[in-house]
Symmetry: C2
Subunit: 192 residues, 2 copies
């Protein structure tokens, strides 16, 4: 099997990335993507509801892995540790996308429409983490805040990783969390 | 001047909030809002580009106040303190909206479309804070992470404040920041 025939979803993703890069996101149609992949528009719509989703194909699988990790985690672990570990572990599977990671990030950064979809995906990920933390420990405090902060760390770690996709993703998570801790810890109360 | 004639923007906002509450967001048209406010659709479009924006009318003013506060801040202050103080100070002017704050939050929570717009507004606020922190101190480290965390705190503080809108907004900011600090500080590195 050649590089271009692994499976339909990947062919569509590869075609979309190539065309977005060459022509700019807004100048590419779904018909263009399907044609470039040697498939039909109908096949595209069997896999993606719209043009934007082709860039976020892995997001449900990521959410499922994160949720599974949280539910299986040691109950003694602190919520922030669980959330960060879950995202670090799930994020390691991003290596499958390493070749196109920087291009994908740059395409998203170039389009307000894609930035919106990215925000929605990250908010959804934070909700999954919040629900997982609560299911794991109904007494947990500040689950939403922990989940949103963990996702903020994930976003920054992802961006750093996309710049050098052969690097270790969990290490980026650790580095960003350390940076956040340094930035937040000694903060004084807001003046009145 | 009666409560219903302070100015056009406020009349449209009040009408929209009333109708969203009574009928649900998706069942209200712009024509309904204009009619309820005793105005025309054309007047509505003079002030808002679409139905969603009527709920976010104060967001540009909020951004301007936050930016002004950051640029005027003491250069000795840490970035997180500046960002939190700016949001606490700007947020105090939310008291003008205190009567409808909980209703507004519940309307937004009821509609995925409005949640998306809210995410976009918060992301825009984070970008304004990042740019302000960099303009104030080009050597600042982790400005994006600080800005995004401050906006996470703002979101949680806003939600807590909306539950009891006569309470002190900056106090909510302090409480949430303290909660975030407690949650993040002792976190250990992610396991490999």
């Amino acid at each position: 099997m050649s590089r271009w025939e692994p499976n339909t979803v990947e062919r569509l993703q590869d075609a979309a990335m190539t065309l977005f890069h060459e022509r700019g996101y807004s100048n590419v149609t779904i018909a263009d993507i399907a044609e470039h992949a040697g498939l039909t528009k109908r096949t595209f719509f069997n896999h993606f509801p719209d043009k934007r989703e082709v860039l976020f194909a892995g997001s449900s699988a990521l959410e499922e892995r994160v949720e599974g990790y949280i539910l299986a985690s040691d109950r003694e672990q602190r919520a922030i540790d669980v959330a960060i570990s879950a995202l670090a572990a799930a994020g390691q599977t991003l290596s499958r996308y390493s070749e196109g990671a920087r291009l994908r990030r740059d395409v998203i950064d170039s389009s307000p429409e894609l930035q919106e979809r990215s925000l929605i995906k990250l908010a959804s990920l934070a909700r999954v983490i919040t629900a997982g933390l609560v299911a794991r420990d109904p007494e947990v405090r500040g689950a939403t805040l922990v989940a949103e902060s963990a996702v903020t760390v994930f976003g920054a770690a992802y961006s750093a990783w996309a710049d050098s996709p052969t690097s270790d993703f969990p290490e980026h998570m650790d580095n960003v969390l350390a940076e956040l801790r340094t930035a937040i810890v000694a903060a004084s109360p807001a003046p009145r």
